[in-house]
């Protein structure tokens, strides 16, 4: 298992969101999680990303407890793609140079251009101001930003929500490519088409993940 949740509980303000949740994800899996709003899908991703702390239970990454990793190093490996990202700084370049800056690596322009091309954005887009981007372009830049450091696991929180059809297909194609390259993907979605096409689908119900296939 590359990532594993064991007897995971999460409570907030006395409300039980997740209850005794167990999940093991193998390396290279492309898991889709569906379920009604408020069922705890996004909460589960935030727990996996270390943005929330479980009330009980453990999360393991590559056989070691999440707490045993320095959290920045863990998040570089288990990369969380936030729902409706805002981007930061002034330009696309500010966003794409950031993963390199925080890891003290030189900016890999070839990799940036390759990934921009994969999401159908020309290299000159690095100079664009973030306010000039459409919602779909912003989401694609955010995905590229998450992929630059080659994380082992991608946590995708409704990354196609609110996108036009063209942007959605580009994003889904990139995710499929990353899956083919051996990355582990855990995706939360409401989209009926994505749920229909999912290879490995689980439903969040009563704070647990259930296989309904």
């Amino acid at each position: 298992m590359i990532i594993e949740a064991k007897d995971l509980d999460y409570q907030v303000d006395g409300r039980q969101i997740l209850h005794q949740l167990n999940l093991g994800v193998t390396k290279g899996d492309y898991l889709t999680i569906a379920g009604p709003s408020g069922s705890g899908k996004s909460t589960f991703l935030k727990l996996l990303a270390g943005f929330l702390t479980p009330s009980a239970g453990t999360i393991e990454f590559q056989g070691r407890a999440q707490e045993s990793y320095p959290i920045p190093a863990y998040r570089q490996q288990v990369s969380y793609c936030i729902q409706q990202p805002l981007l930061f700084g002034r330009t696309v370049q500010d966003n794409l140079a950031f993963p390199y800056a925080i890891t003290n690596q030189p900016v890999d322009t070839a990799r940036i251009n390759h990934l921009l091309k994969a999401v159908d954005l020309p290299p000159r887009y690095v100079e664009k101001g973030i306010t000039e981007l459409s919602g779909g372009e912003r989401q694609r830049v955010a995905l590229v930003r998450n992929l630059l450091l080659e994380p082992a696991v991608l946590l995708l929180d409704e990354v196609t929500t609110g996108l036009d059809e063209a942007s959605k297909q580009i994003v889904l194609h990139l995710l499929e490519t990353e899956h083919q390259r051996g990355k582990t993907l855990i995706k939360v979605t409401h989209d009926a088409e994505e749920i229909e096409a999912a290879g490995h689908l689980l439903h969040m119900k009563g704070g647990q993940l259930i296989n309904e296939q």
Binding site: F51, I71, P72, Y74, I82, L86, L87, F88, T103, N146
Partner: protein, 256 residues
């Protein structure tokens, strides 16, 4: 005392008409401030009277340790005020104290070493008050700016954390802006000094009959001194306290 400084008790009573005017405006405009005005004036009178007599005693004794103790009390008071005014954050008093203590001692140390002021009570105590109070105001501004920025940029900070940034890397822009906000009033007032207002130090010396050309030298020294104190104070306060916005597992927790 210079012969042109003659504030009699009667002069003070006449000057108190200003306070009566403020109470009149508060009543007429239904501002509801008259109790507050009376309380603050009464407090100011008591505080200043006590300080007047304490200073007289300290100047008379002329003991360096007593002077340093009084300076420390000023710094402790400034730190307590800064802590009370800024949401009483965890360890906030000690962050404020360290920032005000370091900025004040460094700035005054520089002035003493350069020979600009002498290590005597008459000079050390008023200068400590001036430096510590400016540092206190700057730290207050820095704390408020930092809180507002974390509230406004919560998602951006979370996006950076999600990419594997440390708290320092995700807060870099916020820290820079907070320090800038804290220093801006000192820089702005340095630009207009002498043109808009004749500041306290210079006014005091002119009141006491000192040649204005000589008085400006002291005012220039004050400009340097306040720039040093506000920049150092806000940098120390911000770098000590930003980490309290994050949990041990680097989860951003912004107070509402």
């Amino acid at each position: 005392m210079s012969s042109n400084l003659t504030v009699s008790n009667l002069s003070l009573v006449i000057a108190a008409l200003g306070m009566v005017l403020a109470i009149g405006i508060s009543t007429k405009e239904k501002l509801g401030l008259h109790k507050d005005i009376l309380y603050s004036v009464a407090r100011a009178i008591v505080q200043l009277t006590v300080v007047g007599y304490v200073l007289k005693g300290v100047f008379h004794v002329a003991n360096l340790w007593l002077t340093l103790a009084l300076s420390l009390i000023i710094i402790l008071n400034a730190s307590w005020n800064s802590y009370q005014r800024n949401g009483k954050q965890k360890r906030g008093f000690w962050y404020s104290f360290l920032a005000i203590f370091c900025s004040t001692t460094f700035t005054i140390g520089l002035l003493v070493l350069s020979g600009s002021i002498k290590p005597i009570a008459q000079q050390l105590v008023p200068i400590t008050g001036m430096v510590a109070s400016n540092s206190m105001v700057a730290i207050g501004l820095a704390f408020r700016a930092m809180r507002t920025q974390y509230q406004q940029q919560e998602q951006q900070v979370n996006e950076m954390l999600a990419l594997g940034a440390t708290a320092a890397q995700a807060s870099k822009g916020i820290l820079r802006e907070s320090i800038k906000t804290a220093m801006q009033p000192t820089i702005d007032s340095a630009k207009t000094v002498g043109l808009v207002a004749l500041p306290g130090m210079m006014s005091g010396l002119i009141f006491a009959g000192v040649d204005p050309v000589y008085a400006i030298k002291y005012q220039i020294m004050v400009v340097f001194m306040l720039l040093s104190a506000t920049s150092l104070g806000s940098v120390i306060a911000i770098y000590l306290s930003y980490r309290s916005y994050f949990t041990e597992r680097l989860q951003l927790k912004v107070p509402r």
